[in-house]
Subunit: 179 residues, 2 copies
DNA sequence: GTCTATACGCGGATAGAC
DNA sequence: GTCTATCCGCGTATAGAC
């Protein structure tokens, strides 16, 4: 039920964007009444916040999983693996990912202490530091934002070839790090 | 008057994001009544569309101006100059740029034939082709999206040093092209 | 716990006076 | 051409029956 509501919101976002997310639409899509919806979530924002939290957790898990599995990997391989994880995740539901990113940044309704984006950047920064890369925090922000930009645009354009896209993001990322 | 309304909308977006843009708020901020507003714009969308068109025109002008002025420049220099133009433009009003980008992509309310984003990508692609760079269209999309991603994130984080940011975007772009 | 019905406010848009 | 006043629909949220 709880999950049905979240998935309904996700589907609406994929079809109509954030603007289509009304409590009525979510309830109807989820197959429950508006009254029931409010027994699971105190308000509309809470739905978006929880959805964002879950999606971000998936991405964060994939990325830090890669980082932990191969602590001995070279910097290039670590970056490559992280990019692959990000591409696969983001291409799975491109519009959803894009709209939620925007929601998080614009409607700052997710507790600031728990900012998800920072979490992922921190993982990347930690990886860079492990390889003694200078200015790790700055570089991590740049890597994440360039990758996000490229992947969002590719998803919006309808690209589906994760391998090809990963390779291109890799060129930008490794080029940035080496230059 | 026309311009007052557009500037009012821009200010509201900078302060409250797209969600704060109501016709009432725009009219009040512009110092006109709601009735007068509707003599200049047929509806709310038209305001956002025209604002987007103007902002995009500024960026497009800066970028293609650079491209035309120095047709003899090397690929690296051409890319560098375009990046500088983009960074300067986007850092001038970071949140406005970011929100309008999202509005254009999500609320597809700007005539599809006149898609502004494609226009800029085409300029970049033409420049790449002039230098015989392979897969120019794909590369142009990647360059624009990685730059947009990095600049948006930097603007959101409050960065203001255009030179430093340009240098970092340049690393990613040239790294991508050379790799 | 789930429903229906409804109160309430806000925002888009128009009418019509001046 | 600019204003005020207003209509109308939509969306949030709650009340209260079952």
């Amino acid at each position: 039920m709880f999950n049905d509501i979240l998935e309904a919101a996700a589907c609406i976002i994929e079809r109509d964007g954030l603007g289509g997310v009304s409590t009525n639409a979510v309830a109807e899509t989820a197959g429950v009444s508006i009254g029931s919806l409010y027994q699971y979530f105190p308000n509309q924002i809470a739905i978006l916040a929880e959805l964002t939290r879950r999606e971000r957790e998936l991405l964060r898990g994939g990325i830090s999983g890669v980082a932990l599995k191969r602590e001995d990997a070279s910097l290039d391989h670590a970056v490559e693996d992280m990019i692959k994880a990000a591409v696969v995740h983001q291409l799975a539901r491109p519009r959803l990912a894009r709209e939620l990113d925007f929601a998080e940044a614009s409607l700052d309704l997710i507790p600031k202490t728990e900012l998800m984006g920072d979490d992922i950047i921190s993982s990347v920064a930690a990886m860079l530091r492990r390889h003694a890369y200078p200015r790790a925090d700055e570089a991590a922000q740049d890597l994440v934002s360039m990758a996000k930009g490229m992947i969002d645009a590719a998803g919006l354009a309808g690209e589906t070839d994760a391998a090809a896209l990963s390779a291109r993001v890799r060129r930008a990322a490794l080029g940035y790090l080496r230059y």
